[in-house]
Amino acid sequence: MKKLNGIKLKHRKNTENSSTVDFPVPEKVTIPMSMTMGAPCQPLVKVGDTVAVGQKIGDTDAAFSAPVHSGVSGKVTAITDYRNVMGTVCKMIEIETDGLQTVSDEVKPPVVTDKESFVKAVRQSGACGLGGAGFPTHIKLNPKADIDTLIINAAECEPYITADYREMMENPQDIINGINLVKSKLGIKTAKLAIEANKPEAIKNFTAMAENDDTIDIITLPSAYPQGAEKVIIYNSTGRIVNEGSLPADAGVIVMNVSTVAFLYRYMQTGMPLVTRRLTIDGNAVGEPKNVRTVIGTSFRELLEFCKADIDSIKKLIAGGPMMGMSVPDIDMPVVKTSNALLAFNHYDERKTSSCIRCGRCVRVCPLGLMPADIDRAYKIRNVEELKKLKVMLCMNCGSCTYVCPANRKLAETNQLAKALIPRK
């Protein structure tokens, strides 16, 4: 089967052998009410309330959203307005910790009997895709179409990030148990655990673990960015194509991040919702790159200090990977559910854009076969019809085209701007 285009990136997985370190409970956490895709939550607590670990502190009636819990015990000291890196405005709850880490009595293993109660429990856990996209997990696990294959996304294709890899090395049994849990609750026949070829250790371990289980396939993905993009991983592991306007479920598959599936298993055992996460801290301004597990709401500044970053030298801070991560405008912003990495750099070359030389590199690398150079031209003259014909709506913003462009054209960004010109039905 022909694999989709991709680009070779330097992996820079400096932290792949760094076991996860627990960050001590900070004195203060700030927890935004919007950390997943979908509607922001409303605070369930007031200033002055005492909260415990695992207590639900934000929720909403909107189905497309996930509740928010506290990872610390302490006192609510403020509720402020907050603008996250995506530009969404929501409330943010500030909690001063008491250091006791008293666990809330809300925390108990959920009772799950059938698919419906399972999906409900998943929603209560506050789970979302931990790989960065932040799609609420209970929505994903409640598809309208028939699913025959569960794809576990363990590509972790972005440079630097090793958070999922550490999950695979440290908690492999949780991953297998999580896969079996989802399979049995949703009645899915086969699961494919898809790992990029640059993680041979993980591939070897899981192949051994799944040797006698013919319902779990271990798939080796080529080492060519972006293997972790949903459409790419579906195609490269099953050969199926998600058509324009359809969801993966319409192609009979669900794609879940590997750390998310392990979290779900642990949640079913303990009832502790999503209040901590592991993230990779790296970049050339960081003295000791690490994988850190910390409570959601910890400020980036504290984590960077913990990893011996030279704070004064930081020019650019990225939440996520260098290809698809978001620029962080403020070093005091908190870790959220989707923070899989925090990269701090002490230099930034202002890139000068020049005219397109029509070299075709952007076309050659696009995994989906889009033609960014032509989209760029059509966008310049605001030719909406042409943009539609060029299928700009399908662009997944993987950034490969911008990366290879010798003229430094910001093609991926232009595509996002071009999408906004096309009227939605």
């Binding site: 650019k316 032509d374 003229a407």
Partner: protein
């Protein structure tokens, strides 16, 4: 820590820049250029310098007059000047070379908006304009190694001699020991340069191969000597360095193949039935003009894209 810099993703970049690509094209042309000096003498050097110098000059003045940013640093004007020189006989008066540069840079390139925007290959167009304006000077070839004397014996290019007793040997053709424009005779050096560019992934071999291949097959079918046809004249220079020009050839592989086939067929027709013995320049120019249409017909297929949207009331 000053304010953090906020910019859209991706935050990583690779280091192949426009200037770097142009530099590689220059490097790839050097073997053929060296061969030109060897065969046609020292005059190749000042002639090339005049072409490159005047191209840079015109580029600079144009950008100044149009109040656009200066683009000399991208080296594309140097490439144009060098390729133009390769397309001229070594005896051409310098002032004619300057006119060629003017056509290439001012008329073909900058009036259409600069690098990447021109629809025709600047050097090819300049060669054709010069050929039509100064047919005698543009066909005053020198016999290799007779260059010490500027009034050297003019020698015919090998093409009109094909099939006669005076036809050059394959080896002489391959090595470039025959009359012709200074950069087009040494197929061996051009081949090395072309393969270098392909190895560095700067050009794709789709167009050169389909160009040379189709000319070879057509010549063979029609009974001419196919090896002679591809080695003589400007085929290798055109195929590797001008039919691969980014701006004026199609972007997709399918498009490049169509482009190359078109060049091969037109070259064959002109050589066989036309009054010009050489058809490479015209074929490339004609295909340049067709490129936008080829592009329209050879777009990539987008994964999962639905065919033309239905108009739902």
């Amino acid at each position: 820590m000053d304010k953090l810099i906020v910019s859209p993703s991706p935050h990583d970049e690779n280091y192949t820049k426009t200037t770097n690509i142009m530099l590689n094209v220059i490097i790839a042309l050097l073997p053929a250029w060296g061969a030109a000096i060897y065969f046609f003498g020292m005059r190749v050097i000042p002639l090339t310098a005049v072409c490159i110098g005047s191209c840079i000059f015109f580029e600079y003045v144009c950008r100044q007059m149009m109040k656009r940013d200066n683009t000399i640093g991208d080296l594309s004007a140097v490439v144009t000047g060098l390729i133009l020189a390769m397309n001229l006989p070594s005896t051409l008066p310098y002032w004619m070379a300057v006119i060629g540069s003017f056509v290439a840079i001012v008329i073909v390139k900058q009036l259409f908006g600069g690098l990447g925007q021109n629809f025709a290959n600047p050097a090819i167009t300049a060669r054709i304009v010069l050929m039509i304006s100064f047919p005698a000077a543009m066909t005053r070839w020198v016999e290799p190694f007779t260059h010490t004397d500027l009034d050297a014996i003019s020698s015919a290019t090998p093409l009109p001699l094909a099939g006669t007793d005076n036809a050059a040997s394959y080896l002489d053709l391959f090595l470039g020991k025959c009359g012709g424009c200074l950069g087009e005779t040494c197929s061996a050096a051009l081949l090395i340069g072309g393969l270098y560019l392909a190895a560095r992934k700067i050009i794709s071999l789709a167009a050169p191969l389909s160009f040379i291949g189709s000319l070879f097959v057509l010549s063979w079918i029609s009974g001419s000597d196919p090896v002679y046809q591809i080695l003589a004249g400007g085929v290798f220079l055109g195929a590797f360095f001008m039919a691969t020009d980014y701006a004026t050839t199609p972007i997709t592989t399918k498009g490049k193949i169509v482009f190359g086939l078109g060049c091969g067929i037109i070259t064959f027709i002109i050589r066989r039935f036309g009054s010009y013995p050489e058809g490479v320049s015209f074929s490339i120019l004609l295909m340049n003009v067709l490129t936008p249409y080829i592009e329209q017909l050879t777009r990539t297929k987008v994964l999962g894209a639905k065919e033309a949207e239905k108009n739902e009331g």
